[in-house]
Amino acid sequence: MKRLVLGGNDAVAYAVKQSHVDVVSAYPITPQTSIIEKIASFIASGDMKARFIKVESEHSAMAAAMGASAAGGRVFTATSSQGLLYMHEVLHWAAGASLPIVMANANRAVAPPWSIWAEQTDSLSQRDTGWIQFYASNSQEAYDILFLSFRLAERVKNPVMVCMDGFLVTHTKEPVVIFGDEIEEFISVKETTPLLEVDRPKAIGALAFPQDYMPVKIEQHKRISSALAEFKTLSDQFEKISSRRYDPVYVYGEENADIVIVAMGSNAETAHLAVDLLNRDGIKSKLVKIVMFRPFPKDELIKAFEGAEKIAVFDRNISMGKGGITKDEIVGALGINNVVGIVCGLGGADVTENDMVKVAKDILEGKIQEDMILWGGR
């Protein structure tokens, strides 16, 4: 193992290199581009043996990934924002066909107006496509979760999306522990199964009347839902190798907190600092970070919120006409009413620990009672 200064994109590319990927198909888009450039250079130098299909669009990127996966390959792709939205139809298809594709998504705001900066509305608007979704907060998480994702995707036969906030994670470079051969026994296990075999000719995805469609979808829902338990099993194995632990929900801070700060992605890093400041001021507080967004970690969140007085959910995303998306998911799943949603950081706007501390205090003092949009101007 060695420690290198890497951005989230670099870390993902290293993980892909070490993951025995057979096929990569991708189309460039800022801020995803450096992932696929690095992979291309690994292949060019012979450090990585894979076929890289340089497709003409994201729609085809996912389509080619599907074909490669259906033939039994381990497949990776990466995209962002507009590209992810362009894939939308094929995302449903990949999940419905139970194809264990792994995709990195650089979370970037959606146009118009044009923006290349961090926001999670792109991937959260793919919530219902049937993909498992992870949100990495830093380069190390992006690297580690990639390995876990290949194994998890193949174990439960469902595609996995690993999201990183654009620039704040993708391009922010920091020390990352990179495996040597230690990861080999974990990542060399391939549970891919070809769906297309000339000796056993089957048709994948044929027209299903209602009596056939419903059972297939029930099965798919079970499959993705099983990812919560399977992730824990794989995480146990991964921890033994890396001494780093990943759970669907991460907690930091005090039990029975006066205020819980919920965050996902890069905001969760800064939220550590807010929790420290609040605890220093005598306000018991805690960070709850959503690492796995789909399947939704309901039970883990119930446990994480035990004894919480108030919950502040910081969403770097927005469902227009409704508000923060993870806030809505939490309330919907848990049926609790002590939650305030804060939409913040859209299009890469800064969210600081002081912003979080102020919101937390205002909630506790009753100054904030309704969902809000955090925006102090430029």
């Binding site: 200064v5 620039f167 704040l168 391009h171 922010t172 470079k173 020390p175 800064t270």
Partner: protein
Amino acid sequence: MKEIGLHGRGGQGVVMAGELLANIYFKEGYEVQFMPSYGAERRGSPSNAYVRIDNKRILYRYSIKAPDEIIVLNVTLLPNLLLKEGGVALLNSSDSSNLKKSDKIKFFVVDANRIALECKLGTPAIPLVNTALLGAYCKISGDFSLDTLKKIYEEKMGKKAYLNIEAAEKAYESVREV
């Protein structure tokens, strides 16, 4: 924690300087975070990069507005730059006569353009001054050794490293306080 801003124009090697600096500090045993500022970059337009340095893991995930210290590759940008009070500014300049002495900011200058050209880095139109300026910064910060800088240059630059090392050494020797 210390925050360092690197400011220049596209083509001068600002982003690379930031990444080199982060790696130098990392080799010295610090925790580091390198945050390039991405915008509508074009050759010649302002380009910024930032480095955070600390003794513990760095958790700040937002941009740096006013760093503790700045390294300015192109002084035409100076009027638009922010710096914390009591901060340090290292400027690529041959002439310090226009700089007003200030109690609030410590200015240092080094003629990195001349040094870069002497070391055959870049062209007279766009000298590659980044590696020279880090040599000067090594001297004024005292945070890391010239040896560590050399090792990182060798790791990251391969064949051209020796020219950049030469530039860094010259800047190390010739940087002066205003």
